[in-house]
Amino acid sequence: MKQVREPIRIKWIWPVMLAIIVLGVPWYLPQGTYEPIIMGFPYWTFISIVFTAALSLFLTYVITNCWDMESTLEDDSKRQKTGGGSK
């Protein structure tokens, strides 16, 4: 029987997500600095861009790998209806 996968119940993804989110905000960088300028962005914005991309990438991973409910539940209800069961 397939396991129901739900993001909220997969504990390890949340600390990772929180770290990516919090490190994307420049609270820990020295206030008042902006050089070097990377690709037209002040360095701290560039760091935030990298973390934002990391967040989007991580979300893509979570959606793909940590979320599978409907198909599993449908399989179950079909099995119940036909009277069969998993071995």
Partner: protein, 499 residues
């Protein structure tokens, strides 16, 4: 917005564009839509495929304000406005907290509106009523904002050759016709067309601005000289404000009634996953692009004050349009895109509001015995009346856009604990959730109305949500539901995780 380069051409473009949308939606999206079934009308038979679902999520989330208001904010705030990119990604994080479970629950019980969840989970008239009123209030504010934006965009594009209110009335009429005929299916199709136009318009505008006003690099170097505070690592309070926006938008936009209804309307989990995965990357093509446009604007038009900066996109468009005929027509397309963006946000809000009125206010309180056809009809008519009442209010628009943008989230977000906790914890009692919502809304409302928008950078809505959660949990322990009620509550969601 003042766009003297346009006038009758603008009027003709708007008319043709709107008629094109109307023709396409009426031709393609009214077949198979039953106006006698709530689910068919408001949720497109719960059969939105990946492409339509994605574009309707996209166009609903990114409104005309993203195109017109955000570059102006970037102009005033500088690079700290990069926050608008991750906070839009945060909406998907918000969805991850509850959408997977809510989707399967909504399918099983045939939910039409967010209030249906409240009804099923808490089985309390007071809870459902307060939640419905909070959502309706937030949606009304949101709708008002869209109408104001529509008025400004139309006024700019037609440059006063027709009074702008006629333009707005015309667009609203088109919108109401396709909505009346096709419900969510028509709205989603219009969103698809509008979404494509917005994307092309914004990217094209960036390229033209970059080529004509200088690159981002030169604008940044220039800004570091003339206004270093917009380039340097922001103050700690700005960083707190940044985090506060994450919570406000991430949770707030995810629990928008029309956003919740798109979770219900997704054809399948696979479709929903595909759409959300794409949405996680869209901020890079939208809010990031308009940020760069705003920064380039600081070099093209330096020294604008707050009010003048609101006109930034219009000024840039004027200057670009004056350079060549091709630019001129491209700018026309861009501003059709702006109006399209506003329209596609407005139509979703009107539809969602109408469903709240028909399914929840009329169907649950005024006339529970009504059949679905009556409910749909009642919702449509009440929705139209509300739109016209708001139009009257919109006649005197407030000065800038961003403040009202925050205000609508303040109250809407207060329904979040019912999803974030209610879907997972049977102990969340009706007393807890009810007083939590009320406490949160009162705190957020009081802060807004007394003009104290933030406290150490944190928005009233976020502080309200924190209070809301505390009150909800504490009161749930002091006044728990009876064991039978808790068992009933558990039955509404526990089956999703039997494994």
């Amino acid at each position: 917005m003042n766009l003297p380069f346009i006038g009758w051409h603008g009027v003709i473009t708007i008319v043709l564009y709107a008629l094109f949308i109307l023709g396409t939606t009426l031709y393609l999206a009214t077949k198979g839509v039953s106006r006698k079934s709530l689910s068919s009308f408001y949720l497109a038979n719960k059969g939105l495929g990946p492409l339509l679902l994605f574009f309707t999520l996209f166009s609903t989330q990114y409104s005309g304000n993203t195109v017109v208001g955000y570059p102006a904010t970037a102009y005033r705030m500088g690079f700290a406005w990069w926050m608008s990119v991750p906070y839009m990604v945060m909406v998907i994080v918000g969805y991850m907290l509850f959408a997977p479970r809510l989707h399967v629950v909504s399918k099983k019980f045939g939910f039409v509106t967010p209030s249906d969840w409240f009804d099923k989970r808490f089985n309390s008239k007071a809870v459902t009523l307060i939640a419905t009123l909070l959502m309706a209030y937030g949606l009304l504010n949101y709708l008002l904002e869209q109408l104001v934006a529509m008025g400004q965009a139309v006024a700019g594009l037609t440059a006063g050759v027709i009074p702008y209110i006629y333009g707005v009335l015309f667009l609203i009429a088109i919108m109401l016709v396709y909505e009346w005929m096709g419900g969510l299916k028509a709205v989603a199709l219009a969103d698809f067309i509008n979404g494509v136009v917005i994307l092309v318009g914004v990217l094209g505008f960036l390229i033209l601005a970059w080529v004509n006003f200088g690159s981002l690099g030169s604008a940044t170097a220039n800004l570091a000289q003339i206004a270093p505070s917009k380039v340097v690592v922001p103050q700690i309070e700005s960083s707190m404000n940044w985090l506060s926006y994450y919570v406000l938008v991430g949770i707030g936009a995810a629990v928008y009634p029309h956003a919740l209804q798109r979770i219900y309307a997704a054809e399948s989990e696979k479709t929903l996953k595909k759409s959300l995965m794409r949405m996680a990357w869209m901020p890079f093509a939208t809010t990031a692009v308009v940020l760069i446009i705003g920064i380039i604007g600081t070099q093209a038009f330096p020294g604008l004050d707050r009010m003048q900066s609101e006109q930034l996109v219009g000024m840039m468009a004027n200057a670009l349009a004056a350079k060549s005929t091709a630019n001129y027509w491209f700018m026309m397309l861009l501003f059709s895109g702006v109006i399209a963006a506003i329209m596609s946000t407005t139509d979703s809000v009107v539809l969602s509001l109408s469903s709240l009125l028909s399914n929840d206010i009329y169907g649950k309180i005024i006339n529970p015995k009504a059949d679905e056809g009556q409910k749909v009809l009642w919702g449509k008519i009440a929705g139209i009346i509300l739109v016209f009442v708001l139009l009257l209010i919109a006649w005197k628009p407030p000065a800038t856009l961003i403040e009202i943008f925050t205000l609508k989230f303040e109250v809407l977000i207060q329904v979040a604990p019912a999803f974030l906790l209610g879907l997972y914890w049977k102990g969340l009692s009706k007393t807890g959730v009810l007083w939590g919502m009320i406490a949160g809304a009162v705190l957020a409302g009081a802060m807004t109305f007394t003009g104290v928008k933030t406290w150490h950078g944190w928005h009233g809505g976020v502080l309200g949500l924190a209070l809301n959660l505390v009150v909800a949990v504490v009161l749930s322990f002091i006044f728990p539901d009876s064991p039978e009620e808790q068992k009933g509550a558990e039955e509404s969601y526990a089956w999703t995780v039997k494994d």
